[in-house]
Amino acid sequence: MDKKKKRSITRGAILVVLLAAIVYTVYTSATNDKVKVLQVGDKAPDFELVDLYESDLKHRLSDYEGKGVFLNFWGTWCEPCKKEMPAMSRQYANYKEQGVEVLTVNIAQTDFEVKKFLESLDVHFPAVIDQTKAVMTAYNVNPLPTTILINPEGRVEKIITGEMSERQIASYMESIKPEQE
C-alpha cells in the first residue's frame, strides 16, 4: 500500500508541475504584449540626464535618495501631458519644501521645442530630455504621459499612465513624501 501511495504522489507531482508549466505559458504570453518590465515595488532603474537649462547640472536618480521623486514622461505633441503640467508645477511648489522632487523627461525632442513649450505654459520644475530614449526604454514607457512615483527608498511606488487631475497629483506627491523627523 505504501508503494501505491508513493506512486500516487509521484503522479500527482508530475501532473502539477506540467499543469504549472501550461499555466505559466498561457499567462505570460497573454500578458506579454502589455508586460511592464518595471513593476511596482521594483528598484527604480538609475539614470542620469542633463538639465535642460544648465548643461553641467546632471540629474541622477540615485542622488535623490531620501526624497520622493515624481518622474513624468511627456512630449509637446501630447495633449494630456500639456494639461497636467500647470497643476504639477503648482503642486511642486507646495511639496518641494517637503522633500518631493519633480523631474519631467521629454522624449527626444529638440531643446528649442521643449524650452518654448515650457515657457508658453509658464511652468517651473526641473526638465530633462531623453535624447537616446534610453531612460524611456529602461522604464518601458509606452503611452504618454506616464508618471512614475518613486519613494524615498528608491522603489517604484506607483505607475500612472494618462492624465492626472490636480487633486490626484497632490495625493501622489503626498504618498511619496519622506517622513519628517
Binding site: 508530475i14 506540467l18 505559458t25 542620469e48 529638440t110 508658453s120 531623453d130 534610453a134
Partner: protein
C-alpha cells in the same frame, strides 16, 4: 491491489498479459490466441493497473494513446485553420482595433469571427497553448506509463520461458535436430548467434539470443526530444531569453537599443539602391518600374561602460561598425540587427530667404536645422530672424496656439519674427507648408521657402533567441530517437532443448520479420535445427511491420 499469481508462482500486477517470469499467458484473451500480443512484452501498462483516485483518473486519461492521437489531430486542425487567413504577423497594422477592423473589412464576418477566436494569431491564443500543453502532458505521461514497465520487463527477462509462451510466438520450430550431436546443439546456436551479433544468455537447457534491445527505447528517446523542443519554445517567454523588438533610427541619430541594456545604435547613413535596367517583361507584367538592389544601414553599435546608468551618453565605447543589409545583420553577443524597413526623405532642415514682398529683394538666407532649431538667426547687425515657435507636425490652431500632432517633421510650421532696418520692431509671421498667417496684418517681409534638406530613416529589428541551442538539441534527440526506432529492431530467439535432445524454438521481433528470418535461416542451417514455421497465416499480417511506434 489485486495480483495475478502465475502457475510458476510469480506474482504479477493486475493487467499483466504474460507472466513476467516464465511468459505464460495470463488473460483469457492471451490464452486463446495463437500468437500472443508482444506489446510491452505483456507487462501491465501502469494506467491499466489502478483506476481509483482523481490523480489516477487524470493520469489514465493522458496516458491513453487514443487521447494522445486525438490531441495531435486537434492540434493539426487548429494550426491548419490558422493558415486560412493571413496571421496578424503578416498584416501591416499595429493596434488591436486596426487588426480587428482589418479582418472584418477584408474577410467579412467570417474574418471577424476568425479574429475573435484568436485564430489570427493562433500560436499566441490561450486555447492553442493549452492544446499543445495537453499534448505535452500526454507525451510525458504515456511515456512514463509505458516506458517504465517495458524497461523493467526487458531488464528482468528470463532466459527460460514456458512452453505456452514459446508456442504462441509467430515464428516457432519444434523437433529433433537434423543430424549431428544433439549435446552440442546449444553451443552451435550460441556460436552462430554471437557471430550474428546477438547477445546470448544460457540457463541450463534454455538459451536466449537477443539483439538491438535499445531500439525499443527509440520512441521514448524521441519523446524526450519533443519535450525538450516544447520546453525551449516555452523558454522564449522567460524575460531575456527571447528578444524581438523593432526600432526606427534616423540618419545621424543614436538610439538606446530596446531589449539590449546599455547599448546604443547610431544610423550613419541609410542607402537604397535600385537596379538601373530596362524594364523586363516580367516587370512590365507586374507593373513594377524599378527593382531594389540594396537596402543598407551603415550603423555603429556603442556600449556604455558597465557602471554607467541609462541616459548617460558621454562615455560610450564603439563596439562595432557594420553595413547592415538584408540577410546580413549586425551581430553582437547573440543579438542581431536586421534591416527591416525604411522611410525616405524626412525633412531635416529648411532654408528660407528673407524677402521683401513688394520688391522681391532678398535680405539673406536662414537655414533652420529641425534637429536643433535656434532662437535667433542673425543675418547682419540690423537684420535678424527670431524663431518664436516650431511645430514639427502642425495640425491646426487651438485657442490661437499652433498644435503639433506628433514629434515627427511631417508638416513643419514656424513662427518667425523678422527684424529688418525699416521694421526694427519686427514683424511676426506664421509659416507652414502652403500656408502663411500674418497675425498683425500685412507684413512688408516674408520668409520665402527656398529649399529643403532631407534624411532617411531606417527600421531595424533587434533579435535574440537563446532558445535555439535547446531547439537544436531537442530536434537532434528527436531525430536520433526516430532513427533508433526505425532502423534498428529488437530481435529475440528463445531455444529450449528438451530432455530427448529435440529442440523447441521461438523468435520475435518488433519489426522487420524478413531480417530475423534470415538470421534464423542461418542458425537453422548451422546447427542443423528443425525447420521453423511462421504461424501468422494472414498474408497481410506478414507484411505488417507490427508494433512500430511503441
Amino acid at each position: 491491489m489485486e495480483k495475478i499469481i502465475c502457475v510458476c508462482g510469480h506474482e504479477n500486477p493486475a493487467g499483466t498479459k504474460l507472466c513476467g517470469k516464465c511468459g505464460r499467458p495470463l488473460t483469457e484473451e492471451a490464452k486463446s490466441s495463437k500468437i500472443v500480443d508482444m506489446k510491452y512484452d505483456g507487462a501491465a501498462i501502469r494506467s491499466k493497473t489502478r483506476n481509483k483516485s482523481m490523480v489516477d483518473k487524470i493520469w489514465n486519461f493522458f496516458s491513453s494513446v487514443k487521447v494522445g492521437i486525438s490531441l495531435i489531430i486537434i492540434n493539426l486542425i487548429a494550426a491548419s485553420i490558422g493558415t486560412i487567413f493571413p496571421q496578424e504577423f503578416y498584416i501591416s497594422v499595429s493596434t488591436d482595433a486596426e487588426k480587428e477592423a482589418y479582418y472584418e473589412n477584408t474577410y467579412g464576418s467570417l474574418g471577424k469571427l476568425y479574429y475573435e477566436l484568436g485564430l489570427s494569431d493562433v500560436y499566441s491564443s490561450w486555447w492553442f497553448q493549452i492544446l499543445v500543453g495537453m499534448l505535452a502532458i500526454s507525451i510525458i505521461v504515456a511515456s512514463i506509463d509505458r516506458g517504465i514497465p517495458l524497461h523493467r520487463s526487458l531488464k528482468n527477462q528470463r532466459v527460460k520461458r514456458h512452453e505456452s509462451f514459446l508456442k504462441r510466438q509467430r515464428i516457432i520450430a519444434e523437433g529433433p535436430i537434423i543430424n549431428g550431436d544433439s549435446a552440442n546443439t546449444l553451443n552451435l546456436i550460441e556460436e552462430k548467434m554471437k557471430k550474428l551479433k546477438y547477445k546470448v544468455r544460457r540457463d541450463g537447457n534454455a538459451l536466449l539470443a537477443e539483439r538491438g534491445r535499445f531500439s525499443r527505447y527509440g520512441p521514448y528517446i524521441n519523446h524526450v526530444g519533443l519535450i525538450i523542443f516544447l520546453a525551449a519554445v516555452m523558454l522564449r517567454l522567460v524575460p531575456g531569453f527571447y528578444v524581438d523588438e523593432s526600432m526606427w533610427v534616423r540618419e545621424g541619430e543614436m538610439r538606446a537599443v530596446p531589449g539590449m541594456e546599455g547599448y546604443f545604435i547610431e544610423n550613419e547613413k541609410f542607402i537604397l539602391e535600385m537596379h538601373d535596367n530596362e524594364k523586363t517583361e516580367n516587370q512590365e507584367l507586374q507593373g513594377v518600374n524599378v527593382v531594389a538592389k540594396n537596402y543598407q544601414t551603415n550603423a555603429k553599435l556603442y556600449k556604455q561602460t558597465d557602471d554607467a546608468v541609462p541616459g548617460k551618453a558621454d562615455d560610450l565605447e564603439l563596439v562595432k561598425e557594420y553595413s547592415i543589409r538584408v540577410n546580413h545583420p549586425l551581430q553582437h553577443e547573440g543579438y542581431s540587427f536586421y534591416q527591416m524597413d525604411f522611410r525616405l526623405n524626412e525633412i531635416k532642415a529648411m532654408n528660407f530667404v528673407l524677402t521683401n514682398k513688394e520688391t522681391g529683394e532678398s535680405f539673406g538666407e536662414v537655414h533652420v536645422d529641425l534637429t536643433n532649431p535656434q532662437d535667433e538667426y542673425v543675418i547682419n547687425d540690423q537684420t535678424k530672424v527670431q524663431l518664436l515657435g516650431y511645430y514639427p507636425d502642425f495640425s491646426g490652431f487651438e485657442n490661437g496656439e499652433p498644435q503639433t500632432a506628433t514629434p515627427n517633421p511631417n508638416n513643419p510650421a514656424f513662427i518667425f519674427k523678422m527684424t529688418t532696418p525699416d521694421k526694427p520692431e519686427g514683424e511676426v509671421s506664421f509659416v507652414a507648408i502652403q500656408q502663411t498667417v500674418e497675425p498683425n496684418g500685412d507684413n512688408a517681409y516674408k520668409m520665402a521657402f527656398k529649399s529643403v534638406e532631407t534624411r532617411n530613416m531606417t527600421g531595424l529589428t533587434v533579435h535574440k533567441d537563446s532558445s535555439i541551442p535547446f531547439l537544436a538539441i531537442g530536434g537532434a534527440i528527436f531525430m536520433i530517437g526516430v532513427a533508433i526506432g526505425s532502423y534498428w529492431n529488437h530481435r529475440r530467439l528463445w531455444v529450449e532443448q528438451l530432455d530427448d535432445g529435440s529442440i523447441r524454438l521461438a523468435a520475435h521481433t518488433n519489426k522487420n520479420w524478413f531480417g530475423i528470418k534470415k538470421d534464423i535461416d542461418a542458425v537453422v542451417e548451422f546447427a542443423h535445427l528443425p525447420k521453423y514455421i511462421d504461424q501468422s497465416d494472414d498474408d497481410a499480417e506478414k507484411e505488417k511491420e507490427g508494433d512500430s511506434t511503441l
